[in-house]
């Protein structure tokens, strides 16, 4: 009875998993059964197939030499005695990037960057940015905090 009712209802989210062959055997069977009697879902499935078949499954190609080089670089990073001579890890690079960003902002605010080309609005906004550089840095810290909280919620 329950089986029959389920077989009769349209469940678009199941169709997607059906396409990926990612349903339990019993669910798979139910969708199959439903498809036989439902033209709407059959049309929907064929649309999904058309779209997803057209999105190529791609693995970016890296040669084995490139992968060897990458692995060697990672190993170098984890060896403490050589750590200082190689490219800084991502965290450091990102911290650097934010400093660079702030620096760039500052640079474009220097008088020789032709302020006469800027509308009064931009000037006001720029001064705001200048006055709030610390705030912007804190903003990024806040974003990180928010991210951490979000991750904690996820985890």
């Amino acid at each position: 009875m329950n089986d029959q009712r389920q077989a009769l209802s349209c469940q678009p989210q199941q169709l997607l998993l059906y396409y990926y062959a990612d349903l339990e055997a019993e669910d798979h069977r139910q969708v199959e059964q439903h498809l036989q009697s439902c033209t709407v879902c059959r049309a929907e499935l064929s649309e999904l197939q058309k779209l997803l078949d057209a999105v190529p499954v791609l693995t970016p190609e890296l040669s084995s030499v490139e992968l060897d080089r990458f692995s060697a670089r990672v190993v170098e990073q984890v060896q403490p005695q050589r750590r200082w001579f190689v490219r800084p890890a991502l965290g450091l690079a990102l911290a650097g990037a934010s400093v660079l960003l702030i620096t760039l902002n500052l640079h474009t605010l220097l008088p020789e960057s032709a302020p006469e080309h800027k509308s009064p609005l931009t000037m006001t906004v720029d001064q705001d940015v200048l006055l709030n550089l610390d705030l912007l840095q804190n903003l990024e810290l806040l974003e990180d905090l928010e991210l951490m909280q979000q991750l904690e919620r996820l985890g």
Binding site: V55, P56, L101
Partner: protein, 193 residues
């Protein structure tokens, strides 16, 4: 790499065998870089993220209880690092818009990484460009779920484990992602390959 081999390699690494660690990195690197690449859209950032994930793996090896496989752990870490990366990019764009509030800019131009050369893109041509733009419309979670399901061929259950989400949540992220792609690629179907 099966669980038994993984356990042997883990033991060797914990005994200080760097060659085993290198072998482990080598075995997982293509998929890890690939996942990061699809998530961030350019190779350089992808390699940085992959590298950071492996460094973190090395750091937590001692506490690695083997209750989640290394690839699950790596997928999870890469996904978190790319979420972090996207948030930073978003903030940078926000500041940029703030500074240029009086001008009109194409947000896609800003979203594109200027450092990414055409050779950096994993999908070339107009169709690839359209796909990249469509993927940009996905939230970072939707993108992660879609990439793990469509490109990495991970079952929903494993995606839920990787992202520490309920299966129902993963299911609706996937559904939403496909709805968005469908809308964005309406006129392109059949012409992407």
């Amino acid at each position: 790499m099966d669980a038994a081999t993984e356990k042997i390699i883990l033991d060797r690494i914990c005994d200080g065998d760097e060659a085993s660690f290198e072998a482990l990195v080598r075995a997982h690197s293509a998929r890890v870089i690939g996942l990061a690449w699809r998530m961030v859209g350019n190779r350089e950032d992808a390699e940085d993220i992959a590298q950071e994930a492996f460094i973190r793996l090395h750091r937590s090896l001692a506490s690695f209880r083997g209750d989640s496989s290394i690839s699950t752990w790596l997928y999870r870490t890469v996904t978190r690092l790319t979420i972090d990366h996207h948030r930073r990019q978003k903030l940078k764009r926000k500041i940029f818009f703030f500074r240029h509030a009086d001008a009109e800019y194409d947000p896609y131009e800003l979203a594109a990484d200027p450092a990414a050369s055409p050779g950096d893109q994993y999908l070339a041509g107009e169709a690839g460009h359209r796909l990249s733009r469509a993927v940009e419309k996905l939230s970072v979670q939707q993108r992660a779920v879609f990439n793990l399901r469509h490109h990495e061929d991970l079952p929903l259950k494993e995606i839920a484990a990787v992202l520490k989400l309920e299966e129902g949540t993963v299911k609706s992220h996937l559904h939403r992602a496909v709805c968005i792609l469908r809308k964005e690629l309406k006129d392109l179907q059949g012409g992407l390959t």
